[in-house]
């Protein structure tokens, strides 16, 4: 699946303790008119289990690596993600093409 064409800032999340940074960066991007896309992989999928994760819903295009999600024993729905957003690493790779700015957390 191709990311939204208006993505400005792509963020790869591969660490677990980054939600405070992530929320603040998304807020700053909103203030500066940047559309954000975020892909969670590796232990980064654990971020989806934090209560404040739901604050990201509707503010950034979200997707995660389904293999990582299952590998960490996670299941069930995640706020802000549809079933197509449980994706593969190809989604992250497409983000690299479509987002002019890119960040790793």
């Amino acid at each position: 699946m191709k990311p939204a064409m208006n993505c400005s800032l792509g963020i790869l999340v591969c660490n677990r303790e980054v939600l405070p940074h992530l929320l603040q960066i998304v807020a700053a991007a909103e203030r500066q008119g940047l559309a954000v896309e975020i892909f969670f992989t590796g232990e980064g999928v654990l971020v989806t289990q934090e209560p404040r994760f739901a604050e990201l819903a509707g503010r950034a295009r979200l997707a995660l690596c389904e293999v990582s999600f299952r590998a960490f024993g996670l299941k069930g729905e995640v706020p802000g993600l549809g079933y197509k957003d449980f994706a593969t690493q190809a989604r992250h790779a497409a983000m690299l093409d479509d987002c002019p700015h890119y960040l790793v957390l």
Binding site: L9, N15, A28, R31, Q32, H101, L103, L105
Partner: protein, 57 residues
Amino acid sequence: MRILHIYRHPPDQVTRTLVNILSRHRQATEFPLYQEPVAYDRLVSLIKEHDQVISWW
């Protein structure tokens, strides 16, 4: 070529070595994400202004 180095943790010698090589003959800026308080608006502005952003370990 403008390159932004973001440090998620204090850079060690390995990171420093790579940063020095990558910054050679380039306009480099450094941003310590590990240092509170973080100026997030400035961070996003810097991301927009640079051609390449590297978020080090």
